[in-house]
Symmetry: C2
Subunit: 294 residues, 2 copies
């Protein structure tokens, strides 16, 4: 049971965690901080937070639980600011989409207190945003990945896992490096690839015609190209090594398809397409509701 939870960044993600923990009776009081005052006021009137803090320092003072749920690019500064104000018994976790850079920022900002921070990544929710989009069941049945640190005591990891479990999530553990490699492939690369296709077409003189004739395949392939540019710039830069490796593998595979195409090699095209079609056809997305993006 958390007495007082500080939620730094009360958007879809932070707000949904607060609602879920309240509904589960796993937290007594929530204090929220964020850059957008109107959003914070909405969060308070919706019962997502009980109090609004004027600064991250004020939010964490007296809190025994701290959730960092802002864009990963803003976490480094936050760790530095909150470090001197953390209670001695405070548990920290985050909801960032990349882990190695967040951990590096936590080590720099928290110093010897880093053992209280158990890095997390809940796999849901970025297409809608803001406290108004938050809901208690966002993480029901969804995966939450923890990438514990050597500095974490087992009891600290268990306590943070219990918090996420109280939101209804399924817990997984892996190393931060493995996390970043996997998400470079299944999330960060598709986002870059969707942004790239839309930008390529939008840059052409006949862009209007292209968009007018695009159908449902284009619609779904490019849905994630409407995602937040700031958030995805931060993620791409934070995970640049793994993402560049994925871009290389992808470009190499596209180039092999191009070679097969120009050689009139229908067999290679067919073999590629049928392997993909079977793998995709056999895949059932995790979780019970998937309208939100990771």
């Amino acid at each position: 049971m958390i007495r007082r939870l500080a939620v730094l960044g009360v958007g879809l993600i932070g707000g949904s965690v607060a609602l879920a923990l309240k509904q589960a009776g796993a937290v007594r009081q929530v204090i929220g901080y964020g850059r957008d005052r109107a959003n914070l006021d909405a969060a308070r009137s919706l019962g997502i937070v009980d109090e609004i803090a004027d600064s991250p320092e004020q939010a964490v003072a007296g809190a025994d639980g701290v959730l960092l749920a802002m864009p990963v690019g803003a976490m480094a500064e936050t760790f530095v600011r909150i470090a001197p104000h953390l209670a001695a018994d405070a548990l920290l976790t985050d909801a960032g989409s990349t882990k190695q850079d967040v951990i590096a920022a936590a080590r720099r900002g928290l110093g010897e207190q880093v053992g209280r921070f158990v890095p997390g990544h809940p796999i849901a929710g970025a297409e809608k945003s803001g406290a108004l989009a938050a809901r208690a069941d966002l993480y029901a049945g969804r995966n939450v990945i923890l990438t514990p640190l050597p500095e974490n005591a087992a009891a600290t990891v268990a306590a943070v896992a219990d918090l996420w479990r109280a939101c209804g999530a399924r817990l997984m553990e892996m190393t931060a490096a493995e996390h970043d490699r996997v998400f470079a492939a299944v999330s960060h690369l598709p986002h870059l690839a969707a942004f790239a296709l839309v930008d390529e077409l939008a840059s052409r003189p006949q862009a209007g015609l292209y968009f007018r004739l695009a159908g449902s395949g284009f619609r779904d392939f490019t849905r994630i190209a409407a995602s937040s540019p700031e958030m995805w710039r931060d993620i791409a830069l934070a995970n640049r090594e793994a993402l560049a490796a994925e871009l290389d593998a992808y470009v190499s595979r596209l180039s092999r398809l191009r070679d097969a195409l120009m050689a009139g090699d229908g067999q290679t095209l067919f073999d590629t397409f049928i392997r993909a079609s079977k793998a995709r056809g056999n895949w059932a997305p995790a979780g019970t509701h998937l309208e939100n993006d990771e």
Copy 2:
């Protein structure tokens, strides 16, 4: 008004056109031909076709309207087979996703009769398949593109346009070359790119972990990778020049993003993402129902 419409390929597309024309009172009788007898029997019991033909030759004998709605790879042989059996007043159109290769096949197969063939491409329907998926409103409010031939009389083009209009479609005209360039970009490239990503991940030793952690962004980006391998092999080969040019442009843009990434050039990433995000956010897919793929 068509007295007798021959539908060659009674799947989602051919079946939906037959149902729409019947509902509009634009056709008196429909005769169907296809490779799958069980599918044809289903089409007859659903009232999609009134008669079943044993061959394309038999289907077109006495028909004043002919719709080719089979995979584009099968059209060349069909034109050759039906040419000697066409009625003197027969109008022909097709529903193929590529146009230059279909036109070349029509010229070879139909010879001097090619003036009766007005090439078409209705923008809807390939993810579900078979007569059971057909419905009268599939083309309501959807775009149908005609790429008329120099050999077409204006009255022939107008008559074929009226047929598609009777299905509820919105008509557009463009050249076959322009059609193939545009669809290489907005449809054929996304399909190849989705097949390539899924095949790349499925080929890895850790494929199971990747698929387990993939979320809704991956789900939508790769939905079209579950499409028919045969159909997309045919389309890719039929439109190989335009598709290779699109692959080159796409790979070049991905490479520029990779360079920006490794240079830590957040501004270029942000500029690309925000242009794409705005273009995608402003785009409203054409048509009233888009659950089917083009």
